[in-house]
Symmetry: C2
Subunit: 193 residues, 2 copies
DNA sequence: GTCTATAACATGATAGAC
DNA sequence: GTCTATCATGTTATAGAC
């Protein structure tokens, strides 16, 4: 099979995002795909290379779609709305993507972070930077990006916490409601006019 | 020394929060404290027991301080400002605290999350809920809390990423600047009137 | 309370057959 | 491209001396 490499990437994405780098062995990944641990080394030179390739694979899969859609829209506020909605949808549909991101923030050393930033995050970061510059020319675009990303990622993870908190609305907040909440808060704050 | 147990908890907090459960060996923890791996088993029955004890230890340390300060302030906007500043300060001073929180969001099963929510998060959640209700009576308080927490936690983690991104301002954003950014965005959005 | 020694097993990686 | 076999090392945990 020629697609073994991609099946390895998908198995690795599932396992790494759920259990972390140290929590997954090459044998675990091989088992998932149906080959032995040794055979993986024909496709990737070592565990770290497979890990980096996995992250790159996940980012490329999802960020290209979003930036393409964004580039078709002129109005900044409209572009923001699309960005938030698309990010929520994509990261809801593929939790591996957002978990690998958060996990790397937590435990990635500077060397690995640098590799990830260059190979995966940069292409996504630039159009966001431009958008923030249009929306708020007097603010720091990087701070705004970090704020927005923090809201999007945290909402999706924190939903697991909601059932254990008081006064929680019945039924989880759907993606469209979340998108409206975040977009509105980002544009107008807590007290919209 | 009688305080070996506490020194073990601190070393474990440092390592577990940074590298995750699987990423830390009993030897690593013992080395940090200056005893052998075998000696740890005199204080904790096994690795998992040490991990649970570590999480409990961290949460107990940090929850009360902030809510006490908040209860002294009447004006909601002022109380928000204090909350954001205090949260940033505390979680900056003890990164182990926020990392364990994010890590448990990522990989904690529902049972462990329920325990953490009840034993640690509830007492903190209630005054926040009341504050949101005062700030924006027509919005969902839980959504607002998750948005705010997402910004605070993500900013502090994402600073590791900044050096690898283009157009980064020289020098990391300090806590006071971050506090002003988040408070302002939360109250007025990207384009304050 | 801490040590050394050791058991029993898992891990990343390589060599070489097919 | 995948296998089996193997190596060197690291892992949790226990036993028993001091």
């Amino acid at each position: 099979m020629e697609q073994t490499q991609e099946r390895l990437l998908n198995a690795a994405a599932e396992l790494f995002s759920k259990q972390g780098y140290a929590g997954v062995s090459m044998r675990d990944i091989g088992r998932e795909v149906g080959i032995t641990q040794a055979a993986i080394y024909h496709h990737f030179s070592n565990k770290e290379a497979l890990y980096i390739a996995t992250i790159t694979y996940l980012f490329e899969q999802h960020t290209l779609v979003i930036t393409e859609q964004m580039s078709a829209i002129d109005d900044p506020a409209e572009r923001l709305e699309l960005l938030v909605g698309a990010m929520l949808e994509v990261t809801e549909k593929d939790p591996r993507f957002r978990r690998i991101y958060m996990r790397e923030l937590l435990e990635g050393d500077q060397q690995k972070l640098a590799a990830i930033a260059e190979s995966a995050f940069l292409a996504f970061y630039e159009p966001l930077y431009a958008l923030m510059d249009e929306l708020a020319p007097d603010s720091d675009p990087q701070l705004l990006i970090f704020s927005l990303a923090g809201m999007i990622f945290h909402h999706l993870e924190a939903r697991k916490l909601a059932p254990h908190l008081p006064n929680t609305a019945k039924g989880n907040a759907g993606i469209p409601l979340l998108a409206r909440h975040i977009t509105n808060l980002f544009l107008h704050g807590v007290s919209p006019s």
